[in-house]
Symmetry: C2
Subunit: 301 residues, 2 copies
């Protein structure tokens, strides 16, 4: 495992025993942070969860659902916490994270769960507390949002990307990896730029395709009853990401726009090949395109 050499005795003991980090603050009270908080309590990592949000209704809901024990303003929450977990739209992550990093001591730990990594890592690279921060992206989600979307047993079996591990203290890495591993995740290490490229290919383009497909069908299929009546499992699975929250996804696409545009151009050109094969009634070419796509079988689990 990368970086194992740098872990000292104290950290190894941290890796062997499930840690009780004591008080955890979640910044943002939604799908990811809510699912994370539920798991942290269940697995014994947190004796108390504090919630921070600009939305009073979300805090109220999160309390009702047993996701958080207390709601506090950011500064107060950070000061009382051993570990701070930030899962908010990526366009507000940088300023909020800088605020948090200015408040923490060498005994505290901070992680984010954002879907883009380059902008954030770049913004924090010279912060004096950078070593207490770990950049993470648990590759899990659903099309739903808000605290009521939080589920028990989330994250299981998925990858968690850790970026710029070399800039984070070993005890922070050990603690956070231990948390994610306890949830059933396996770690994948890469630099922030590589993360954003892979995320564009594997996650962001799927969302754009799905949004565009929903718009296509809504534009062409004026008989909504027909969609409702006829939509089978195939349509539902292809279009389900179109239900995703624009407030969360628009900033992701914008922050990763160069990579997203690159893969979107390729996708449009792939669709044009299907178009050409149909226009020319070239069955052989159409089958060739589909057989190539079938190769995804040997890659998907």
């Amino acid at each position: 495992m990368e970086g194992v050499e740098s872990i000292n005795k104290e950290d190894i003991s941290a890796m062997e025993q499930p840690l009780s980090t004591g008080v955890i603050t979640i910044v943002g009270v939604g799908l990811i942070s809510g699912s994370f908080a539920l798991a942290m309590k269940e697995k014994g990592f947190a004796k108390k969860i504090i919630g921070v949000s600009r939305t009073e209704a979300s805090l109220q809901k999160a309390k009702e659902l047993g996701i958080i024990d207390e709601a506090l303003p950011l500064e107060e929450a950070v000061k009382k916490s051993d570990f701070i977990y930030v899962a908010i739209p990526v366009d507000v992550t940088v300023p909020v994270m800088k605020q948090i990093m200015d408040l923490i001591t060498d005994k505290q730990m901070v992680a984010d769960a954002g879907s883009t990594k380059f902008v954030l890592c770049d913004a924090l690279k010279d912060h004096p507390m950078r070593h207490r921060f770990i950049a993470t992206h648990p590759m899990w989600g659903t099309e739903y949002s808000g605290p009521e979307a939080a589920v028990r047993g989330a994250f299981d079996g998925r990858a968690c990307v850790i970026c710029e591990k070399e800039k984070t203290d070993a005890d922070v890495i050990a603690t956070v990896e231990n948390m994610y591993k306890t949830l059933g995740m396996h770690m994948v290490y890469m630099d922030a730029h590589s993360h954003d490229i892979h995320a564009a290919y594997i996650s962001h383009i799927s969302h754009i395709t799905s949004f565009a497909l929903a718009n296509t069908v809504l534009e062409k299929e004026k008989e909504e009853d027909a969609i409702f009546e006829l939509a089978g499992g195939g349509f539902e699975s292809t279009v389900r990401l179109a239900k995703s929250n624009p407030a969360m996804w628009a900033p992701i696409f914008m922050q990763n726009r160069e990579n997203v545009l690159d893969v979107l151009n390729e996708h449009i050109s792939q669709l044009r090949k299907f178009k050409a094969s149909l226009e020319k009634e070239n069955l052989e070419y159409l089958i060739e395109l589909m057989e190539n796509a079938n190769k995804i079988k040997r890659i998907l689990k």
Copy 2:
């Protein structure tokens, strides 16, 4: 219910009692016909299932799986059957169906389960036995094919489209609708041309998008390990239809090419809107596109 007036007493008794149709032949031994055959036996509609296929291995497999009791050549199978269910690629459906229709008597019934309807209905419109045939499209499927893909409990909760009901004898309608209803399906009636338009919007475009997305990712993401490691639920659900069988889907796209091209052009233009919003860094427009796509929420079950 459309056409109820034309059902006579004999047909009403047929609708009230589950019918034992006796011997059923399935032409094509795959996902749809196999799942249908399993259900027909389980629900007491068939005392015997005969399988017809050009592929010896499929017949063998279907026997092993208890899907069929006997494998016979088409002519012999048809002569021994009360009901013949045709589920083969749409490019071979017309000639095979004509062969069957030339063999049957007024006491037999025939249905197809194809994903396109206009070409078939048009080809059979003047056949003297047209009244013993019912054009059906159960809106259910998975990305898998072959008899080993057949599942128990398929079709449940989905729509079944019946086309040109007015050309089919009432007893055939009653029997076949009773079969599908027993499987948990609800009937939707439309003409063959309308069916093909709706199918292009709601099913065929999802498949093309998914095939093209797989090709996009395979083209851009040269690190297959990264796809394997990072692909989350969103990617998997958007791309799963790309595993579908080209031998089945290419003829569907070709037979419905005008409608498919129409919706494919719209889809490319919808993707270009996303592209433009990113190129111009127009967050407001991007959010507007996504909020429009969110409307699919109120239509999907």
